[in-house]
């Protein structure tokens, strides 16, 4: 397969997944904030007003806070929604990522099923016709649902139409690497989000467990539910962990659980499979650098325990996972895709 075509497949996979992840994050964040677990008046801490919707953490997740404040002064719902959804100057906005996916598909139309291209193109034309005002005036949830559906439609067509060949493996490599990365990122930032409310208390310590802010408290539970919802994991989580919503269980489910399709571990193991097939099709015997890196990451995920991860520092762990995903990405470029 032509390096550039493989690269485009890989990035189509990543961009579609990224658009979906952004839609999920903003959606859940927006709607979680509509219901507040805190009684009126309790929202203020010190002299700082509790924001109706705390958009800052979301800006942090996207890694684009700097980009945001260059062009927007405050975090109004309209501006933030626009930034994440339609702003073409934000390379990670839904429209930007979808456009990137679509442009990549356009450059390799002859490599992918025409239905896949059409799905990307039609959704792009659709998304482009919307703007933040109209979305806010209507139902933002419906908009995010449209994006998720577009992504699912695309992935469904992919599953149904693409030959089980190299192009498909590259699409999957991109999709699952991005998904692992995004899940790790959501968890990381959401976890951070819960911390600063009582800066001097450790939300994981038993000591403050009873307070509304502490583990198991109303704010905490509400926060973890939001995390689970943002990756469509709440219902599945409840099926697996019937004893309630606890950080260790959430980490177990979203990071380590092989069976859950949005978990970090699941994504990495899928990437491992793709890379193995790609290599053997290329006629290379020995495992190469991307496989070595991904295999090691998978081993770490497979043989870690949730409690251990939390006690060693969840943030450090998640940061490490994201960094290693990025290194895998560069190794893939070096080994296969560079042109």
């Amino acid at each position: 397969m032509l390096c550039r075509d493989a690269d485009s497949c890989y990035w189509i996979g990543r961009y579609v997944e990224r658009a979906e992840a952004t839609a999920r994050m903003v959606d859940v964040h927006y709607h979680a904030a509509l219901e507040s677990p805190l009684p009126p008046g309790q929202g203020s801490i010190g002299e700082e007003e509790f924001q109706p919707i705390r958009w800052q953490s979301l800006l942090a997740i996207s890694g684009n806070a700097d980009n945001y404040y260059e062009r927007y002064t405050s975090e109004t719902d309209h501006d933030v929604l626009n930034f994440f959804s339609f702003d073409l100057d934000n390379p990670n906005s839904i429209l930007s990522t979808w456009k990137s996916a679509r442009d990549n598909a356009r450059s390799i139309r002859e490599q992918i099923a025409s239905e896949m291209w059409e799905a990307l193109n039609i959704s792009y034309i659709n998304l482009k016709s919307l703007d933040a005002e109209r979305v806010l005036a209507g139902s933002p949830h419906e908009f995010f649902q449209t994006v998720k559906n577009a992504s699912h439609l695309f992935q469904g067509i992919l599953n149904r139409t693409m030959l089980m060949g190299e192009a498909r493996d590259w699409l999957d490599t991109g999709r699952f690497l991005e998904r692992s990365c995004q899940t790790a990122r959501i968890l990381d930032v959401k976890y951070h989000d819960l911390l600063p409310i009582e800066a001097d208390s450790d939300p994981l310590s038993e000591r403050v467990g009873a307070s509304v802010y502490g583990v198991g408290g109303a704010v905490d539970t509400h926060g973890w539910i939001a995390v689970l919802k943002s990756v469509s994991a709440l219902e599945m989580y409840r099926k697996t962990h019937r004893d309630g919503i606890y950080p260790a269980n959430v980490v177990d489910f979203l990071v380590l659980c092989q069976e859950f399709p949005a978990s970090v571990s699941h994504g990495i193991s899928r990437v491992e499979g793709c890379l193995k097939r790609i290599r053997s099709k290329a006629g290379i015997q020995a495992k190469n650098e991307p496989e070595r890196l991904i295999g090691r990451l998978l081993a770490d995920l497979t043989y870690s325990r949730p409690g251990e991860i939390i006690s060693d520092g969840l943030h450090e762990f998640l940061e490490d996972v994201q960094a290693r995903c990025a290194i895998v990405g560069s190794a893939i470029w070096e080994t296969y895709l560079g042109y």
Binding site: D103, R106, S107, E110, G283, Y339
Partner: protein, 515 residues
Amino acid sequence: MSLFESYATDGFYDEMFEPSGLPRPHYRKLYQRLVSMSKEDFRRRCQLADLTLVNQGITFAVYGNDAGVEKPFPFDLIPRIIPSAEWDLIERGLKQRLTALNLFLHDVYHDQKILNDRVIPRDLVVDAVNYRREFIGANPPHGIYVHICGSDLIRNADGQLLVLEDNLRTPSGVSYVLENRIILTRVLPQLFRDLAVRPVEHYSTQLLRNLMDLAPEHCNGEPNVVLLTPGVYNSAYFEHSFLAQQLGIQLVEGRDLFVDENFVYMKTTSGPQRVDVIYRRVDDDFLDPLVFRADSALGVPGLINVYRAGNVSLANSIGTGVADDKVIYAYVPRIIEYYLGEKPILSNVETYLAWQPKDLSYILDNLDKLVVKAANESGGYGMLIGPQATAAERADFANRIKSNPRNYIAQPLISLSRSPALVEDRFEGRHIDLRPYVLYGKDDITIVPGGLTRVALRKGSYVVNSSQGGGSKDTWVLAGETPEALGGEMRQTQRSHTETAPQDAENLPDNGGAH
């Protein structure tokens, strides 16, 4: 209410209607079907076709004002019909023309007999922008320079078909021929019923076979054929992608290829893979920065040397642009006679050459009547339509012509024939042309019946280029007319035209008059 309500031919030659207002014999069946359709029904089908175009992204990129914007190429649903006898004439005329042009190209890059015999002034060729000295003496496989040619034909007010220009470099548009047919059979299948419309989809098969035949000698087994595109920002990118898919060959950009030790390779995830034949849609200038424009990032350094060594084949070959130079165009009838000893079957449009002092003064004196064209521009750029231009525009062109006469030609404004096109909710006459695609293979020349009919959708406009507000139509060549289709009107046409010069053998109902 009929879509033809208040349709008027306005004194132009109309492809569908006689001056009397009756449909021409070969259009009768189509006319009856269209007349029986309601406006709403027709409109709905148009919307369906438009939606298909947009959803499939059948678009071209526009340069200039809206740079980078992709627009769908408007598709007008009313087909243009060419009777089989007329098609036969076109086919023979274009084969003759391409055969001669190919001999011309071989000659000017080898012995230069036509120049030594002073049939064409030598400087017009060797000093032409698109003459490639670098390619003198090189031998393309089977001696073929132009594998794919798109010649533009127009019909004048008398109904005579004329060649307006030849496109011998990287002619585009054939994807619309194939797509238009697919879409029309989907949205208006009933129009095709009992009209024997000749198919077009074998174009891809034929082209692929011709390309495979170009495989270099070292190639054992199936040759690796690729299509080289300038990339997604090129105006014809959709076509490149479409053709690659139809031909089942790899679409590549310059950066996907590299040259090593006089062979061309493409970069794949399993390592370099040798490339044998390149259907290139990149102009000469950008093909190889080592030999041509050094600032080109679209090309492949070293490619021309590999080609010259015979280790890769290119279609079209290098330096073909010298033969579609608009100044050389004026000499094509002489080129045909020189190499083939035959009279041209298809005539040229009368052309004035500004480099000839006599013609120059005529051009300058009659700018308001003439169409002036730059010798090496295409796509409707660098052109002045005298009768429709302002005095300032004409003055500007007069200066341009005077400062570089070699670069300009002028032709009388041909009143292009018209065909009905859907305008808002009814049919109106719009000017059209025809670009058939001619494939020059190892053994023979083939032309897919029909070609691209381009239509100037702006009222009164003569410019059919997609970049200038043009659209396209499906073009039908009928497999053969039934006796009743060849009505009395046609015989009358024949009689009136046999009185004109012999090469004006247009519009004949059968082969009798032309053989």
